[in-house]
Amino acid sequence: MISIKNISKWYGSFQVLTDCSTEVKKGEVVVVCGPSGSGKSTIIKCVNALEPFQKGEITVDGISVGDPKTDLPKLRSRIGMVFQNFELFPHLSVTENLTLAQIKVLGRTPEAARDKALKLLDRVGLMAHKDKFPGQLSGGQQQRVAIARALSIDPIAMLFDEPTSALDPEMINEVLDVMVQLAQEGMTMMVVTHEMGFAKRVAHRVIFMDAGKIIEDCTKDDFFGTQRSERAQLFLSKILHH
């Protein structure tokens, strides 16, 4: 469904991605991890063209992301994305956050959009907060709203960019639970995260990145087994001890 071929990207003369290739099949859950500055957040933003890249090709459901003729808003409306800092729209209520794209992008009626929004809020357990503003919610609640918002456009795949790293520890699980449920329902997911527990539970594959390169790209069992690179081992031992 998502295919990344030989992507390279520079900020000015500084190379942030070097010749990265991988693939996410339909229904597959892929976890991307690596130390900070390894390029993992950048690569996931390239998938829906939030970050431009200079070399290589990314296709989503057969459509080339880098092609200037591609209708990017249309392509993006088929992929859901969840951000590290939630990025809920602070001037809109929780429900309005969920209906905006449905009405303006998908052309649904306000009533239909609202029904869908309430269903999703119910699903993430936040029905009681439907009329609040994002600033009135806790971090964990905001991130669950953000997941619901991403789902509101009925995406064919979901991208998660460090969805739990801005959260207080006691709120991480409520967000992970929603993500696990989503994975078990068969959603195609690409998840940048350090939560190895999540990876062990639901990931099919794990990608390890360092310094803008994909170092390892293997099944979960291989990754957590014994056959892995020294750098990945070092990284894993570091985060598992924290």
């Binding site: 933003k45 392509l75 729209f89 303006k104 998908l106």
Partner: protein, 229 residues
């Protein structure tokens, strides 16, 4: 001139306020709306990734900000009739009323100042908000109109209003093209009755009360917004 005669204010206040102050306040309000509209467009151009747009807007803004308002008022006063003629395809410069001329001048001049405020406002909205809008499939105009600009306006509201108080004071400069704003009306009365001291003192007091009152309101609003956030 012997003694002061403050009766002159009583004799003329209907004219001063009905004609003069109405002109001043209408001009301020309309130029604010127009200025913020064009200023926002200019700000979007300045931040555009198309360098032609951003250079054009930047050039315009810097030009306006480098020139004295008095000179700009003269420019537009003489230029607008020609632009009007060009716009409707007439051969000779069209006649434009002094209010219209002032309105165009202040809209275009203040747009440059509002532009810088809106630019700061747009940049004050976190980059991730734009990403989130795009990620939902919103295009540029929807992302701007529904997500970035509402937040930019809210963040910049006190500054926009402060600029409007400055605009309110600036409109008194239409005196140089003999328009009858509040100051213009007062000047006419002052010269007719030869009561300059009384009239100009009165004008200063009125402007002070309105400007100071408005800036107190802005301050209050600012502290209220600060609490909400």
């Amino acid at each position: 001139m012997s003694g002061y005669d403050f009766d002159v204010i009583q004799r003329s206040w209907v004219y001063l306020f009905r004609d003069g102050m109405t002109f001043t306040l209408t001009l301020t309000a309309l130029a604010m709306v127009g200025g913020i509209f064009f200023g926002t467009l200019l700000a979007m151009m300045r931040l555009s990734r198309f360098s032609i747009l951003s250079y054009a807007a930047g050039g315009y803004v810097n030009l306006m900000r480098s020139l004295p308002l008095v000179l700009v008022i003269f420019w537009f006063f003489f230029l607008v009739p020609y632009i009007g003629a060009w716009a409707i395809g007439a051969k000779d410069p069209v006649k434009v009323g002094s209010f219209m001329s002032c309105l165009i001048t202040f809209t275009m001049f203040e747009a440059a100042y509002y532009c810088e405020i809106m630019r700061a406002g747009i940049q004050s909205v976190a980059r991730g908000q734009v990403w989130a809008g795009y990620a939902l499939g919103l295009n540029y105009w929807l992302t701007m109109g529904k997500i970035v600009l509402p937040q930019a306006f809210r963040n910049m509201l006190p500054v926009l209003l402060t600029q409007t108080v400055i605009l309110f004071q600036d409109t008194s400069l239409v005196y140089v093209i003999s328009a009858t704003d509040f100051l213009g009306a007062a000047a006419k009365v002052a010269n007719r009755d030869y009561r300059l001291v009384e009239m100009y003192t009165f004008v200063a007091v009125v402007y002070f009360i309105i400007s100071f009152g408005l800036s107190l309101l802005v301050k209050q609003l600012q502290s209220r917004i600060a609490i909400i956030r």
